[in-house]
Amino acid sequence: MINLAENNLVLLILVLVIGLLVALWVFRGRSGASGGPEGNALHDEFAAATQDVAGEILSVDAHPNIPDPKGPPDNLQLLKGVGPKLAAQLNEFGITRFDQLAGLTENEVALLDRRMGAFEGRIARDRLVEQACYLERGDKDGFEAKFGKLGG
């Protein structure tokens, strides 16, 4: 077997690297290290910076672009820190589904948070986008590992 392994050393190293990459994909995804929606962190930062600067220079009251819900509403109260009132407040802004929350950019979160009245800052503070990312993709285990047991 050792002889076989020596003969396939390059293959074994390559497959080991594949295993490492898959582990990175699986476990980094679970831990939500990007801190936001998957795969768009760099674009988000650039877009957020652009919108912030442009908004200030042009004195434009930029507002978050929340897409229409694509399906029946989710139970937003499953998110840790969201009660009936905060859920209703989110509904007022047209947010009824996890995928809408998960798709918010950092800049949109900041803009939305300013309009949340009594709940100002709660979207960022309670990491609702990160929570919604897990629930949107149905990763209950990842959610519970990070935020605790999923309530009802």
């Binding site: 295993g19 490492l20 994909w25």
Partner: protein
Amino acid sequence: MRTAVKLLIGLAASLACAWISHGPLGRGQALVDGLERQARAAVARGQLPGISVRLGRSPLSRNATLSGPANDLQREGLGSQMGLSDYVREVPGIGGVRWADEPARERGALPLFAETLILAVLAYLIGLGLGRLLWGRPRREGFA
């Protein structure tokens, strides 16, 4: 995407790499050719004419098959005196030895492709394990 799907994609990629290495890149054929050369040299040490040795070709395997005129003593040796089978068995990498005119007494080696796939799966699992150690520690932050 579900975790199981990600793991299966990685596994499929690993098995595909193993197949490419074994088949199209010819690593399997090269290994068997090398082992067969060494086995022939080992048989030559027995200084017995008419003995040939070949390794499994269809499918490729590390199992050596000896053939030719040799009695039991010449084949298996006696006590500390080595037989032809022992010479071939000593070649590093040979999976098993049998004589063509005898029923197989040793359990035959797996086809080389199956062994390569098993190695690839093991390497993949080791990679996953290392990755889990590096990035998989659950970090409970707040709300717990």
